[in-house]
Each structure stands twice: as C-alpha cells, then as structure tokens.
C-alpha cells in the first residue's frame, strides 16, 4: 500500500495481513502515517498504488461495500450528544441497514451486556466519558461488521473504564469481529494478538508483542517503542 500527497509519501509500501477475529494493534508516532492508512482501509481515501482488500472487498472497486461492512469509532466523534442513547442506536442501525425488526431486541441485548439498559432514554451529553466510550463501541459493532476500526478509543478514560473497555474488545473478537485499534497507551499494546509499529510512513515492526520483545531484548512494548521509533 502506497499513498503519496504530491512529493510527500505518507505510506511507503505497507505490507500486512490482519486475520479474522484478531485484535490488531496499529501503533506509531504522531505523524507516522497511521491516520492516512486507516482512511484508506475504511474506504475514505484512494491509495496511490498497491493491492488492498478489507472484509473481502477491494478498496478501488468496492469502497461503498467496505463502508457497509466495517465499524468505526474515534475519540473525537462517535455519537450525537444531543440524541439519547436509544436514538443513537436507531440512527446508526438505519444508516447501516439493520433489519427494522431486529433493532429493538438487539439494542436491548447490547445495552444489557453494557449494563446501561436503564439509561437508554438519557442524552449522550449527560453521560460520563467511560460510558460514552462503551456505547460508541456498542454502536460501532451493532451491525455485526466484519471488522471494527478503533482510533484511540480509550484516550483520557479512567484506569478501570479503560480495562473494562478492553474486555469488551476481547468479547467482540470472540464473536469473530476483527478489531483494528490504535492507542498511545503502551500497556494496551500488550493485550493485542499482534501489533505493528509505524515510523515515518513505514511499518518498522510487526509481530506478536512477546516475539517483538524477545527480538529486541526489552521487557515492555513501551521500551520497544522508545527503542525503535525515530532511531
């Protein structure tokens, strides 16, 4: 995968595969090209060259199919603050064409799992950040996408909520939904099945956390990151 903007190459020949049901950590320094790559994988930007398939669809010819078969959640925008919990689910269910009869039972099931069923009539704006993140994730996976992209999903949430969120990620992966996640919390990188690390437009490492730590002779992914980024 290559993406150039004029004379600037944001993504240099990225080669990687992410497996079904895998939790894949997409790490890198600020400005390393992660967002550019994510936008291409989500069908929002056309690559300069390379062969890329997401959820079984080609990014050049089936970008709309990709959009229907993925979920996306970011720290910056995920839910409508001035709609209630229930209204947000209905809105996104409509956008992703969830069969109308299935919306209510599935929403109740999801909210029960999140322990938020009693709060379904509340405005998103009135909820604590940790709950919003849980809900945003519930909404992003509501249409049972093949893969869900999470862009810094836990930024700023408290340590308990952050851990609860990751447990939700693993439950989702067990349902067969692939999870593609970025984070600046290096302890979270350790939870991923495999991680890649980008630096200046290139993938400079890709493997299981343990194999990478063994290979570079470090104890944590944090130490690994410090060791290989910008060297």
């Amino acid at each position: 995968m290559v993406k150039k903007f004029g004379g600037f190459t944001a993504n240099h020949n990225l080669n990687f595969e992410v497996y079904k049901g895998e939790v894949f950590g997409f790490l890198g320094a600020n400005g390393a090209g992660k967002t550019t790559a994510m936008r291409i994988l989500c069908g929002l930007s056309v690559p300069t060259s390379g062969e890329i398939n997401v959820a079984g669809y080609n990014v050049y010819t089936h970008a709309e199919k990709i959009k229907q078969n993925i979920g996306y959640m970011s720290q910056k925008f995920s839910l409508y603050e001035d709609l209630t919990v229930e209204e947000n689910f209905r809105f996104f269910a409509g956008v992703y064409k969830v069969p109308p009869k299935e919306i209510k039972p599935r929403m109740e099931e999801t909210l029960t799992n999140l322990e938020l069923l009693n709060h379904r009539k509340k405005l998103i704006a009135s909820l604590p950040l940790g709950w919003k993140q849980k809900l945003a994730f519930g909404v992003a996976t509501f249409h049972n996408p093949g893969i869900v992209f999470l862009d810094e999903p836990t930024s700023g949430v408290d340590p308990v909520a952050r851990r609860n969120f990751w447990e939700q990620i693993f439950k989702t992966a067990e349902r067969g939904i692939t999870v593609f996640v970025t984070t600046h919390y290096m302890d979270e990188a350790e939870y991923c099945h495999r991680v890649s690390i980008m630096d200046q437009g290139r993938i400079v490492a890709l493997d299981t956390p343990q194999s990478l730590k063994d290979k570079y002779g470090v104890d944590t992914i944090f130490d690994l990151f410090i060791k290989i980024v910008r060297q």
Binding site: N30, D158, P159, V160, E190
Partner: protein, 303 residues
C-alpha cells in the same frame, strides 16, 4: 509557594471540585494525575484566575487569585488543554504577540524559551494552524514561557501524544525546572507520575492522595500478585471467580490480582487455575504501581 485551601467550584448542583487543599513548593514539578472529568481543568482555571471559586481560596506566592488577579497573570504561564494560539498568525507572530502583551520581547527572554523554541524556530514563518501536533505543543509552551513566569501551569500537555514525544516533553520540563520555574502539570497517563517530584491523584473533583510518587506506591499495603497464563482474557475471568478475590485487572500481559486476605495461598491458587484449564501459569508477588493504587483508592471510595 502555591497554597490551596478548601477550594470548591460548583456549577449548579454539580460539584466540579470539592474542598481541595494542597501546597506546591517553589521550584517543584507537581503533577495532577486523573482521568477526564476529574476536575483538573477546573482546578487549573482557578489557579490561573480565569475562574472564581465558589468557596475556599488559592494563593500563588502570597497573591490571591481573586483579589490580585492582575499580578497573578504576570507571574503565571498557562498552557490550556486545547490549542489556543492564533492559527492565522505565524509561529514568530504568535510568540511576538504574547511577548508584547506582557510588555517584553522575544530577545529579552530568549534564554528562557531557547530549549523549547529552538525545535520550531526553523519554521518561524509557518502559520501556527499548519503545524504538526508536536510543534503546536512546543509553540504553546514557548508562548506560555515568554514573559518569564515564576509558575508554569500546563493542562494535559501530553494527551494524545505518542510515547516518544511524551518522553521528550518531560525532558523539556525537567530542564525548565532546573531554571527554578515552579511547574504544575496535569495528565491522564498514570505512568507519567514517576516523572514528577510530587503528585496528587484526582478523581470526581476530590484529591485521593498527595505525596511523592515513590511514597504513594511503597506505602501501599495490599498484596498484589502478577499472574500470567496462556490466555489472559480467560485467566481474568477465572480469577474474578476465585473465592477470595477483591479485584483483578489486566496490566499489559499480566493480570494484577488483589485478594481479601493479607496474603494468598499460592498453592491453592495454582491448583484452582490448573483445574480451570490454564497452561503456563506463573504467579509472582509484585510491587504496586500508581495505577494499582489509583484503582484501589477509587474502589475504596465507591465501597
């Protein structure tokens, strides 16, 4: 010295900050550590005279933030959480603007900002709105420093910043501290606590504890077991069903387990995890980190 006494800020019935008291010594690097919504930004706006307290008071070097607000602004440099410079002015124009407002010039205080500003000086004609995240952060810090303040108040300067840049930023703070500037900084990253001289853990508008980071972790009395097995997620589930469990959370590749009893029966636990079908089980006693203490204090409060 900075001294807050029973500082409270309410919005209607919501208590954003409740009865907060603390003291920061001159020349100290002091951190407020807590998640979003803990009250860190409210506290920093009170410290910098940008908000009025509902009750209580805070003094900076003997100056009251309400009565002496004009003098407070002369001695404090404030970097808000959101980028608040002029995007349509160049790097140098922004810096010159702040210098002029405070009755000084870039030349006069260049020695103060040099360590920070030298990183972005090659781009001084670039518009501030066109800078990368890391460069914006350095420009905002330069602008907060240009009037040679006695106190620097930095609201979440490292949020959303990668691990390498965060490390570099903390090195900059260390070098500013060595010039005698008192620094108050907030962060949601608990691993940054160890880089401060002293920290306050803050949650739901209250201070949970204030001390040296080493003292906070070494005074933690509960036993923590670091447990590893072939499947961390299933291990977590098994440990939460263990009869003696108080709490169990994932920490990187380990699960940190805290039990109700002062010390756990390791043989019993090994046997239990074996019965649950876990392989390659390793159990070790470990020292608490700041995040362990934070989780425990928060759960204690919630009963």
């Amino acid at each position: 010295m900075i001294k807050a006494q029973q500082l409270t800020k309410k919005y209607g019935t919501t208590v954003a900050l409740g009865n907060v008291s603390f003291q920061v010594d001159e020349g100290e690097l002091f951190g407020f550590i807590g998640p979003d919504g803990a009250g860190k930004s409210t506290l920093f706006r009170l410290l910098t005279s940008l908000l009025l307290p509902s009750s209580g008071k805070v003094e900076l070097f003997g100056l009251d933030t309400v009565k002496d607000y004009k003098k407070i602004r002369e001695i404090t440099g404030y970097m808000p959480g959101r980028f608040s410079l002029y995007p349509d002015l160049s790097v140098e124009e922004n810096l010159d603007f702040f210098a002029t407002v405070f009755g000084t010039s870039i030349q006069e205080n260049y020695h103060i900002i040099h360590d920070v500003y030298s990183h972005i000086e090659p781009f001084k004609t670039r518009l501030a709105g066109k800078l990368s995240g890391g460069m914006k952060q350095k420009l905002a810090l330069s602008c907060a420093l240009i009037h040679n303040p006695r106190v620097l108040v930095l609201d979440e300067p490292t949020t959303g910043v990668d691990a390498v840049s965060r490390k570099e930023f903390w090195e900059l703070l260390r070098s500013l501290k060595s010039k005698g500037i008192t620094i108050i900084v907030s962060t949601p990253y608990m691993d940054e606590a160890g880089l401060c001289d002293r920290v306050a853990l803050i949650h739901h508008g209250r201070l949970l504890t204030v001390d040296k980071p080493g003292a906070i972790t070494s005074s933690y009395e509960k036993q923590i077991l670091g447990i590893v097995a072939d499947n961390t997620y299933k291990l977590l589930d098994s440990l939460r069903k263990y009869p003696d469990v108080l709490h169990a959370y994932a920490f990187g590749q380990q699960v940190h387990y805290t039990g109700r009893k002062a010390s756990a029966d390791l043989n019993n636990m090994r046997a239990y995890l074996g019965q649950c079908g876990h392989k390659d089980v390793q159990i070790m006693q470990i020292k608490a980190g700041i995040e362990d203490v934070f989780i425990d204090l928060v759960q204690d409060r919630q009963g």
